[in-house]
Protein backbone atom coordinates (compact mmCIF):
# COMPACT_ATOMS: atom_id res chain seq x y z
CA UNK A 1 0.00 0.00 0.00
CA UNK A 2 1.38 3.38 -0.98
CA UNK A 3 -0.39 6.58 -0.12
CA UNK A 4 1.73 8.64 -2.51
CA UNK A 5 1.63 12.37 -2.07
CA UNK A 6 -1.08 12.16 0.59
CA UNK A 7 1.25 10.52 3.07
CA UNK A 8 1.01 13.53 5.39
CA UNK A 9 -2.76 13.29 5.72
CA UNK A 10 -2.50 9.63 6.64
CA UNK A 11 0.31 10.36 9.08
CA UNK A 12 -1.81 12.92 10.88
CA UNK A 13 -4.88 10.69 10.91
CA UNK A 14 -3.03 7.65 12.25
CA UNK A 15 -0.89 9.30 14.89
CA UNK A 16 -3.54 11.89 15.75
CA UNK A 17 -6.35 9.42 16.26
CA UNK A 18 -4.15 6.95 18.15
CA UNK A 19 -2.83 9.58 20.58
CA UNK A 20 -6.34 11.04 20.91
CA UNK A 21 -7.67 7.58 21.82
CA UNK A 22 -4.98 7.11 24.47
CA UNK A 23 -5.62 10.52 26.00
CA UNK A 24 -9.42 10.12 25.95
CA UNK A 25 -9.04 6.71 27.58
CA UNK A 26 -6.73 8.00 30.31
CA UNK A 27 -9.08 10.95 30.89
CA UNK A 28 -11.94 8.53 31.50
CA UNK A 29 -9.80 6.46 33.88
CA UNK A 30 -8.84 9.51 35.91
CA UNK A 31 -12.12 11.42 35.97
CA UNK A 32 -15.04 9.04 35.62
CA UNK A 33 -16.74 7.73 38.73
CA UNK A 34 -18.48 4.74 37.23
CA UNK A 35 -16.42 1.56 37.35
CA UNK A 36 -17.66 0.31 33.98
CA UNK A 37 -16.80 3.66 32.42
CA UNK A 38 -13.31 3.34 33.85
CA UNK A 39 -12.88 -0.08 32.28
CA UNK A 40 -14.18 1.33 28.98
CA UNK A 41 -11.51 4.02 29.30
CA UNK A 42 -8.84 1.37 29.77
CA UNK A 43 -9.91 -0.49 26.67
CA UNK A 44 -9.92 2.77 24.67
CA UNK A 45 -6.35 3.49 25.73
CA UNK A 46 -5.45 -0.07 24.77
CA UNK A 47 -7.02 0.41 21.34
CA UNK A 48 -4.91 3.51 20.80
CA UNK A 49 -1.77 1.57 21.72
CA UNK A 50 -2.64 -1.17 19.26
CA UNK A 51 -3.10 1.34 16.46
CA UNK A 52 0.27 2.92 17.27
CA UNK A 53 1.94 -0.48 17.17
CA UNK A 54 0.63 -1.24 13.71
CA UNK A 55 1.44 2.28 12.56
CA UNK A 56 5.12 2.04 13.43
CA UNK A 57 5.38 -1.23 11.55
CA UNK A 58 3.91 0.23 8.38
CA UNK A 59 6.27 0.78 5.47
CA UNK A 60 5.59 2.94 2.45
CA UNK A 61 4.59 0.65 -0.43
CA UNK A 62 4.84 -2.47 1.71
CA UNK A 63 2.56 -5.48 1.53
CA UNK A 64 1.41 -7.86 4.24
CA UNK A 65 4.30 -10.09 5.40
CA UNK A 66 2.94 -13.33 3.95
CA UNK A 67 4.84 -15.24 1.29
CA UNK A 68 1.79 -16.55 -0.52
CA UNK A 69 2.33 -18.34 -3.88
CA UNK A 70 1.73 -15.12 -5.83
CA UNK A 71 4.48 -13.32 -3.95
CA UNK A 72 7.23 -15.94 -3.76
CA UNK A 73 10.16 -15.07 -5.98
CA UNK A 74 8.91 -11.56 -6.74
CA UNK A 75 10.78 -8.58 -5.43
CA UNK A 76 8.32 -7.09 -2.97
CA UNK A 77 8.72 -4.82 0.01
CA UNK A 78 6.91 -5.99 3.10
CA UNK A 79 5.87 -4.14 6.22
CA UNK A 80 7.71 -4.83 9.46
CA UNK A 81 6.22 -8.04 10.93
CA UNK A 82 7.48 -7.63 14.50
CA UNK A 83 5.05 -4.93 15.71
CA UNK A 84 2.18 -6.96 14.27
CA UNK A 85 3.26 -10.02 16.22
CA UNK A 86 3.58 -7.93 19.38
CA UNK A 87 0.17 -6.34 18.97
CA UNK A 88 -1.44 -9.77 18.64
CA UNK A 89 -0.06 -10.62 22.06
CA UNK A 90 -1.12 -7.25 23.43
CA UNK A 91 -4.71 -7.66 22.20
CA UNK A 92 -5.12 -11.04 23.86
CA UNK A 93 -3.58 -9.82 27.12
CA UNK A 94 -5.81 -6.74 27.02
CA UNK A 95 -8.87 -8.95 26.72
CA UNK A 96 -7.76 -11.03 29.70
CA UNK A 97 -7.26 -7.94 31.86
CA UNK A 98 -10.63 -6.52 30.79
CA UNK A 99 -12.40 -9.74 31.70
CA UNK A 100 -10.82 -9.85 35.17
CA UNK A 101 -11.61 -6.15 35.70
CA UNK A 102 -15.25 -6.64 34.78
CA UNK A 103 -15.59 -9.66 37.04
CA UNK A 104 -14.30 -7.49 39.90
CA UNK A 105 -16.87 -4.84 38.95
CA UNK A 106 -19.62 -7.45 39.21
CA UNK A 107 -18.24 -8.56 42.57
CA UNK A 108 -18.16 -4.97 43.86
CA UNK A 109 -21.66 -4.34 42.60
CA UNK A 110 -22.92 -7.36 44.52
CA UNK A 111 -21.41 -6.06 47.75
CA UNK A 112 -22.25 -2.38 47.47
CA UNK A 113 -25.20 -2.40 45.10
CA UNK A 114 -23.54 0.42 43.22
CA UNK A 115 -20.85 0.75 40.60
CA UNK A 116 -19.73 4.24 41.52
CA UNK A 117 -16.39 4.90 43.18
CA UNK A 118 -17.69 7.78 45.28
CA UNK A 119 -20.17 5.47 46.96
CA UNK A 120 -17.66 2.67 47.56
CA UNK A 121 -15.73 4.13 50.41
CA UNK A 122 -14.52 1.37 52.64
CA UNK A 123 -10.95 1.88 51.48
CA UNK A 124 -9.24 5.15 50.75
CA UNK A 125 -8.99 6.01 47.07
Amino acid sequence: MDFGQYQNIVTISVYGSAIALILIGLYAVLIKKNLIKIVIGLSLADAGIHLLFVAIGYLKGGTAPIFSPSVVGENVTMVDPVPQALVLTAIVIGFAVTAVALSLVIRLYKHHNTARIDQIKSLKW
Binding site: L59, F67, V82, S103
Partner: protein
Protein backbone atom coordinates in the same frame (compact mmCIF):
# COMPACT_ATOMS: atom_id res chain seq x y z
CA UNK B 1 -11.20 21.81 39.43
CA UNK B 2 -9.94 18.24 39.29
CA UNK B 3 -11.14 18.21 35.71
CA UNK B 4 -8.90 21.10 34.73
CA UNK B 5 -5.83 19.61 36.40
CA UNK B 6 -6.35 16.27 34.70
CA UNK B 7 -6.90 17.88 31.30
CA UNK B 8 -3.77 20.00 31.72
CA UNK B 9 -1.79 16.93 32.72
CA UNK B 10 -3.06 14.95 29.76
CA UNK B 11 -2.26 17.81 27.42
CA UNK B 12 1.32 17.80 28.66
CA UNK B 13 1.52 14.03 28.16
CA UNK B 14 -0.02 14.42 24.71
CA UNK B 15 2.47 17.11 23.81
CA UNK B 16 5.37 14.87 24.78
CA UNK B 17 3.91 11.97 22.83
CA UNK B 18 3.46 14.06 19.70
CA UNK B 19 6.97 15.36 20.17
CA UNK B 20 8.33 11.83 20.50
CA UNK B 21 6.57 10.71 17.36
CA UNK B 22 8.25 13.51 15.44
CA UNK B 23 11.33 11.30 15.51
CA UNK B 24 9.41 8.39 14.10
CA UNK B 25 8.23 9.17 10.60
CA UNK B 26 5.18 7.21 9.53
CA UNK B 27 5.92 4.86 6.65
CA UNK B 28 9.69 5.33 6.75
CA UNK B 29 11.87 2.37 6.05
CA UNK B 30 13.31 1.54 9.42
CA UNK B 31 14.23 -2.00 8.46
CA UNK B 32 17.37 -0.98 6.64
CA UNK B 33 18.40 -2.29 3.23
CA UNK B 34 17.60 -6.00 2.78
CA UNK B 35 21.29 -6.80 2.55
CA UNK B 36 22.24 -5.49 5.97
CA UNK B 37 19.93 -6.76 8.67
CA UNK B 38 19.79 -3.65 10.78
CA UNK B 39 16.67 -4.67 12.67
CA UNK B 40 15.21 -7.97 13.75
CA UNK B 41 12.24 -7.34 11.45
CA UNK B 42 14.48 -7.38 8.39
CA UNK B 43 16.10 -10.59 9.54
CA UNK B 44 12.72 -12.27 9.90
CA UNK B 45 11.61 -11.15 6.45
CA UNK B 46 14.81 -12.38 4.83
CA UNK B 47 15.16 -15.71 6.58
CA UNK B 48 11.75 -17.00 7.56
CA UNK B 49 10.93 -18.83 4.34
CA UNK B 50 14.30 -20.45 4.07
CA UNK B 51 14.78 -21.42 7.70
CA UNK B 52 11.30 -22.32 8.91
CA UNK B 53 9.35 -23.11 5.76
CA UNK B 54 6.39 -21.02 6.86
CA UNK B 55 4.68 -18.60 4.47
CA UNK B 56 3.14 -16.32 7.07
CA UNK B 57 6.02 -14.47 8.71
CA UNK B 58 3.84 -13.32 11.60
CA UNK B 59 2.99 -16.91 12.43
CA UNK B 60 6.67 -17.79 12.35
CA UNK B 61 7.43 -14.96 14.76
CA UNK B 62 4.58 -15.75 17.12
CA UNK B 63 5.05 -19.49 17.26
CA UNK B 64 8.76 -19.93 16.75
CA UNK B 65 11.01 -16.87 17.02
CA UNK B 66 8.99 -15.47 19.90
CA UNK B 67 7.24 -18.69 20.86
CA UNK B 68 8.10 -18.14 24.48
CA UNK B 69 5.93 -15.01 24.45
CA UNK B 70 3.04 -17.03 23.13
CA UNK B 71 3.47 -19.59 25.89
CA UNK B 72 3.23 -16.71 28.35
CA UNK B 73 0.24 -15.35 26.52
CA UNK B 74 -1.82 -18.53 26.69
CA UNK B 75 -0.85 -18.66 30.35
CA UNK B 76 -2.28 -15.17 30.82
CA UNK B 77 -5.58 -16.35 29.32
CA UNK B 78 -5.48 -19.48 31.46
CA UNK B 79 -4.92 -17.32 34.54
CA UNK B 80 -7.75 -15.01 33.53
CA UNK B 81 -10.10 -18.02 33.41
CA UNK B 82 -8.80 -19.24 36.77
CA UNK B 83 -8.98 -15.79 38.33
CA UNK B 84 -12.47 -15.20 37.00
CA UNK B 85 -13.55 -18.53 38.42
CA UNK B 86 -12.06 -17.61 41.77
CA UNK B 87 -13.53 -14.10 41.88
CA UNK B 88 -17.02 -15.14 40.78
CA UNK B 89 -16.94 -18.44 42.67
CA UNK B 90 -20.15 -19.29 44.43
CA UNK B 91 -20.57 -22.24 46.72
CA UNK B 92 -23.39 -24.33 45.38
CA UNK B 93 -26.16 -25.19 47.73
CA UNK B 94 -27.11 -28.78 48.31
CA UNK B 95 -28.70 -30.29 45.23
CA UNK B 96 -28.40 -27.09 43.26
CA UNK B 97 -27.66 -27.54 39.58
CA UNK B 98 -25.60 -25.11 37.71
CA UNK B 99 -27.70 -23.31 35.19
CA UNK B 100 -27.40 -20.19 33.22
CA UNK B 101 -29.68 -17.30 33.88
CA UNK B 102 -30.36 -16.36 30.27
CA UNK B 103 -33.97 -16.30 29.27
CA UNK B 104 -35.23 -18.85 26.80
CA UNK B 105 -34.75 -17.07 23.50
CA UNK B 106 -36.99 -16.92 20.47
CA UNK B 107 -37.47 -19.80 18.08
CA UNK B 108 -35.84 -17.80 15.29
CA UNK B 109 -32.62 -17.26 17.22
CA UNK B 110 -32.54 -20.89 18.27
CA UNK B 111 -32.87 -22.26 14.75
CA UNK B 112 -30.48 -19.69 13.38
CA UNK B 113 -27.84 -20.57 15.95
CA UNK B 114 -28.30 -24.26 15.35
CA UNK B 115 -27.71 -23.82 11.63
CA UNK B 116 -24.83 -21.37 12.04
CA UNK B 117 -23.04 -23.22 14.83
CA UNK B 118 -21.30 -25.96 12.78
CA UNK B 119 -20.20 -23.46 10.16
CA UNK B 120 -18.73 -21.09 12.72
CA UNK B 121 -16.83 -23.94 14.36
CA UNK B 122 -15.58 -25.14 10.97
CA UNK B 123 -14.47 -21.63 10.05
CA UNK B 124 -12.59 -21.33 13.33
CA UNK B 125 -10.86 -24.67 12.85
CA UNK B 126 -10.02 -23.79 9.25
CA UNK B 127 -8.47 -20.53 10.42
CA UNK B 128 -6.19 -22.14 12.95
CA UNK B 129 -5.17 -25.08 10.79
CA UNK B 130 -4.10 -22.71 8.02
CA UNK B 131 -2.40 -20.30 10.38
CA UNK B 132 1.00 -20.80 8.79
CA UNK B 133 -0.26 -20.16 5.26
CA UNK B 134 -2.89 -17.44 5.43
CA UNK B 135 -3.69 -14.61 7.82
CA UNK B 136 -5.06 -15.90 11.07
CA UNK B 137 -4.05 -18.67 13.37
CA UNK B 138 -4.57 -20.07 16.83
CA UNK B 139 -5.77 -16.91 18.52
CA UNK B 140 -8.12 -15.81 15.79
CA UNK B 141 -9.46 -19.30 15.17
CA UNK B 142 -9.87 -19.95 18.87
CA UNK B 143 -11.80 -16.72 19.30
CA UNK B 144 -14.07 -17.64 16.39
CA UNK B 145 -14.79 -21.06 17.89
CA UNK B 146 -15.59 -19.40 21.21
CA UNK B 147 -18.00 -17.08 19.39
CA UNK B 148 -19.75 -20.15 17.99
CA UNK B 149 -20.21 -21.57 21.48
CA UNK B 150 -21.40 -18.16 22.65
CA UNK B 151 -24.22 -18.32 20.11
CA UNK B 152 -25.37 -21.65 21.51
CA UNK B 153 -24.99 -20.50 25.12
CA UNK B 154 -27.21 -17.51 24.49
CA UNK B 155 -29.80 -19.26 22.38
CA UNK B 156 -30.33 -22.41 24.45
CA UNK B 157 -30.90 -22.26 28.14
CA UNK B 158 -30.22 -25.96 28.48
CA UNK B 159 -27.16 -26.11 26.25
CA UNK B 160 -24.80 -28.23 28.30
CA UNK B 161 -21.15 -27.31 28.19
CA UNK B 162 -19.16 -30.25 29.44
CA UNK B 163 -16.90 -28.73 32.07
CA UNK B 164 -14.90 -31.90 32.16
CA UNK B 165 -14.27 -31.81 28.43
CA UNK B 166 -13.37 -28.12 28.62
CA UNK B 167 -10.77 -28.80 31.31
CA UNK B 168 -9.39 -31.75 29.35
CA UNK B 169 -9.06 -29.79 26.11
CA UNK B 170 -7.48 -26.85 27.90
CA UNK B 171 -5.01 -28.93 29.88
CA UNK B 172 -4.06 -31.27 27.05
CA UNK B 173 -3.46 -28.39 24.66
CA UNK B 174 -1.28 -26.68 27.25
CA UNK B 175 0.61 -29.88 27.99
CA UNK B 176 1.17 -30.42 24.25
CA UNK B 177 2.66 -26.96 23.89
CA UNK B 178 5.05 -27.31 26.81
CA UNK B 179 5.98 -30.90 25.96
CA UNK B 180 6.89 -30.03 22.38
CA UNK B 181 9.06 -27.32 23.86
CA UNK B 182 10.65 -29.72 26.32
CA UNK B 183 11.22 -32.28 23.58
CA UNK B 184 13.60 -29.86 21.92
CA UNK B 185 15.46 -29.65 25.21
CA UNK B 186 15.57 -33.42 25.68
CA UNK B 187 16.91 -34.06 22.18
CA UNK B 188 19.83 -31.81 22.94
CA UNK B 189 18.64 -28.60 21.35
CA UNK B 190 16.90 -25.65 22.92
CA UNK B 191 13.42 -25.13 24.32
CA UNK B 192 10.85 -25.01 21.47
CA UNK B 193 13.46 -25.79 18.84
CA UNK B 194 11.93 -26.48 15.45
CA UNK B 195 14.18 -29.33 14.37
CA UNK B 196 12.65 -32.75 14.75
CA UNK B 197 9.88 -32.58 12.15
CA UNK B 198 10.72 -31.98 8.47
CA UNK B 199 9.94 -28.50 7.26
CA UNK B 200 8.09 -29.61 4.09
CA UNK B 201 7.52 -27.43 1.05
CA UNK B 202 6.50 -23.82 1.33
CA UNK B 203 2.78 -23.05 1.09
CA UNK B 204 1.61 -26.64 1.53
CA UNK B 205 -0.51 -27.64 4.50
CA UNK B 206 2.17 -29.89 5.94
CA UNK B 207 5.02 -27.46 6.22
CA UNK B 208 6.82 -25.57 8.90
CA UNK B 209 7.74 -28.45 11.21
CA UNK B 210 6.29 -27.97 14.70
CA UNK B 211 4.81 -24.56 13.92
CA UNK B 212 1.36 -25.69 12.72
CA UNK B 213 1.14 -28.28 15.50
CA UNK B 214 1.78 -25.70 18.17
CA UNK B 215 -0.59 -23.22 16.56
CA UNK B 216 -3.36 -25.84 16.50
CA UNK B 217 -2.73 -26.58 20.18
CA UNK B 218 -2.90 -22.84 20.87
CA UNK B 219 -6.14 -22.70 18.91
CA UNK B 220 -7.77 -25.42 21.02
CA UNK B 221 -6.48 -23.88 24.22
CA UNK B 222 -7.65 -20.37 23.39
CA UNK B 223 -11.06 -21.67 22.31
CA UNK B 224 -11.49 -23.63 25.54
CA UNK B 225 -10.34 -20.72 27.69
CA UNK B 226 -12.50 -18.08 26.03
CA UNK B 227 -15.52 -20.39 26.13
CA UNK B 228 -14.78 -20.96 29.81
CA UNK B 229 -14.69 -17.20 30.48
CA UNK B 230 -18.02 -16.69 28.72
CA UNK B 231 -19.59 -19.63 30.50
CA UNK B 232 -18.54 -18.34 33.93
CA UNK B 233 -19.85 -14.87 33.15
CA UNK B 234 -23.15 -16.18 31.80
CA UNK B 235 -23.81 -18.28 34.91
CA UNK B 236 -23.77 -15.39 37.38
CA UNK B 237 -26.85 -15.21 39.53
CA UNK B 238 -28.41 -11.76 39.24
CA UNK B 239 -27.83 -9.82 42.44
CA UNK B 240 -30.79 -9.38 44.68
CA UNK B 241 -31.80 -5.79 45.22
CA UNK B 242 -31.22 -5.31 48.90
CA UNK B 243 -33.26 -2.18 49.44
Amino acid sequence: MKNIIVIALLLVVGFYLVDSFNYIKFGDNRLGAPSDEKTVGAYYLNNTVEKTGVANVITAIIVNYRGFDTLGEVTVLFLATTGLGSILYRRRKEGEHEERVTKESSYLLQTGSKILFPFVILLGIYVFIHGHLTPGGGFQGGAIVATGFLLMLIAYKNFKLGHNQLTWVESLAGITFVSIGMWGLITGGTFLENSFIPKGTLNSLFSGGIIPIIYIAVGFKVAAELTGVLDILLSIKPSKIKK
